[in-house]
Amino acid sequence: MSVDIGAALQGIHAALPAAKVAMRTNPGPSNQHSLLVGNESLVDVLRFLRDHLDFDLLSNVSGVDWPDPAKADAVAVFGEGEETAREHGFLEVVYHLYSTSRRVGPLVLRARSADRGENACVPSVVSVFRSAEFQEREIFDLYGVIFTGHPDLRRILMWDEFVDHPMRKDYVAPDDYEYEPTPHDDVLVKAKRHYPAES
């Protein structure tokens, strides 16, 4: 059953008047609209949803990289409102909540970091949902979102000495394309670098 997002929004506004929550409409046919939550109230909003609206299952936490705000505009997960006028890229975390007792969902929440550099921070929701523990570590590892308040924020998939965040759109993979009999596109470019005589 799909979720009544308007009611959820009203409930949040009524219970947490200070929380910055705005609706984002999804232009696609999936009809999954989302709530953009301000970082300072994210944990409170999730706790409210869990305790009072029975959204007890945090199913999925995704990280998304938006290096180009114009692109984000084009894709229109940016809705109307204050956030459209961003100048630099940012990282986004998307939460998908379900209710096991009411059997509704997904309630989609989004939180955004200020930028992609040092301030790529989003509050951790592990204190509300344990299921976010490994997923947040994964997003930290692959996107570099720093989850403030996460009890054990270490790399999870890559090794500890690794410095990059490979799922970012501007990540450059190490070049070891040496024996490539069937190269294309960027692999071709990299393979050619290894055969200078031939290029």
Binding site: M1, N26, P27, G28, P29, S30, Q32, S34, R50, D51, D56, L57, L58, S59, N60, S62, G63, V64, K71, A74, V75, A76, V77, V94, H96, T100, R103, G105, P106, V108, V126, S127, V128, F129, R130, S131, A132, E133, F134, Q135, L142, P151, D152, R155, I156, L157, M158, W159, P166, M167
Partner: protein, 385 residues
């Protein structure tokens, strides 16, 4: 309702420096017989009792999501086979389901039936193999696994006939399936469904009454159901603890509403319940299969409007999930209107089911850790992606 205090983040570990030399630090894996692949656990043992257990992932992190963001939507389909490589067809369906939601594609009725049949056969494969693997974890010399694989081969023969591959089916397409059922396939499948009941009886006789298995599995690894839900646990593990949550019923996708079947629910949620729930689920799957095979309609096997080449879904995002054999398998897709997905995220049940591994294992024996890990039923392709 769960309060924060009832869920300490990190389970009690030893105080730093406190008689540390009495403790044995063992690294189980990544090459270890019972880690089901290349999973690793850093275990601290006091004698043989676990006082701390930290999972280490990533030994099979093969960048599925990154690769998928660089190729077309269709090209990701064969990669989904390799997520949970014991049940590729469920993964196919979950991904096709997500793309269909993203692009608003209708699926013809026959294709829906075919999908249900394949997904339930996959569930049979997974749960049967699970029985063998968990017995192996308990130290049995592979007989259960052999019997499980004996039946698995029969199902794989069916898959090979239909999809062309034993494991990596690459069969579902956006808006249907790749090809129609070959002549006589449904009849062969029907025979298999009839023969599967006796095999399950045999397995049940082999395992369920076994006192050693009872002693090993009962009261091992249970947690309160609120903790399980909060930890994001889904699938048979959650239902073994008595939570009535099966996506086939809770949020029916495909045509599951048309079939009459029941959701088995356990009580305690220990390893024994997890085994039994899977047994009972297989019997329910057989019921679904019987109904689906009887009702299988004629018609299109793929939506003729769906494109194979140059497929571009409209701008938007979608999260869709199915009840995979291991739990909730979801795909989160963001489309920017080009041929490649902008964001492609898999919600892997095995990975998130591991969240509470440490909580389950603390205070138990090393031998129990192996069983608990087995009862979670992980596949590393999905855990690390």
């Amino acid at each position: 309702m769960i309060s924060d205090s009832s869920m300490p983040y990190s389970a009690p570990t030893l105080a730093p420096g406190a008689d540390d030399d009495q403790l044995l630090h063992v690294s189980l894996g990544p090459q270890h017989p019972s880690t089901h692949g290349v999973f690793r656990m850093n275990v601290v043992l006091d004698g043989e009792t676990v006082v701390s257990l930290k999972p280490v992932f990533g030994y099979l992190h093969r960048n599925h999501e990154k690769i998928a963001e660089g190729v077309t939507y269709l090209s990701s389909m064969p990669y989904t086979d390799r997520l949970d490589y014991i049940c590729p067809l469920s993964n196919n369906w979950a991904y096709a389901h997500a793309v269909e939601k993203l692009a608003g594609i209708e699926v013809p009725e026959r294709a829906e039936y075919m999908r249900v049949i394949l997904a339930e056969l996959t569930r049979l494969i997974n749960h049967t193999a699970f029985m063998g693997f968990i017995l192996g974890d308990m130290g049995a010399w592979g007989s259960a696994l052999m019997y499980a694989f004996r039946e698995r081969e029969l199902i794989l023969d069916l898959f090979e006939d239909l999809t062309g591959a034993r494991m990596m089916a690459n069969f579902m397409r956006f808006g249907g399936c790749r090809n129609d059922l070959p002549a006589g396939w449904a009849e062969k499948c029907s025979v298999l469904v009839d023969d599967y009941g006796p095999f399950l009886d045999e397995m049940e006789k082999f395992l369920v009454g076994n006192e050693i298995l009872l002693a090993r599995c009962q009261d091992v690894g249970q947690l309160p159901k609120e903790t399980l839900i909060n930890g994001g646990i889904t699938g048979p593990m959650l239902r073994a603890a008595g939570v009535n949550y099966d996506i086939r019923k809770a949020e029916p996708y495909g045509i599951y509403e048309r079939f009459s079947f029941r959701i088995p629910l356990g009580d305690k949620g220990d390893c024994y319940d997890r085994i039994m729930i899977r047994f009972l689920e297989m019997r329910e799957s057989l019921k679904i299969l019987r109904q689906a095979l009887d009702q299988l309609p004629e018609g299109e096997y793929v939506n003729p409007k769906a494109k194979i080449r140059g497929f571009k879904p409209p701008v938007g995002e979608a999260y869709a999930r199915i009840e995979g054999p291991k739990g909730e398998l979801g795909f989160h897709l963001i489309s920017d209107g080009t041929v490649n997905p902008y964001r492609y995220r898999v919600r892997p049940p095995s990975f998130i089911n591991l969240t509470l591994l440490e909580d389950m294992c603390l205070g138990l024996d090393l031998a129990d850790v192996v069983i608990i890990l087995g009862s979670i039923d992980i596949v590393l392709g999905e855990v690390d992606r």
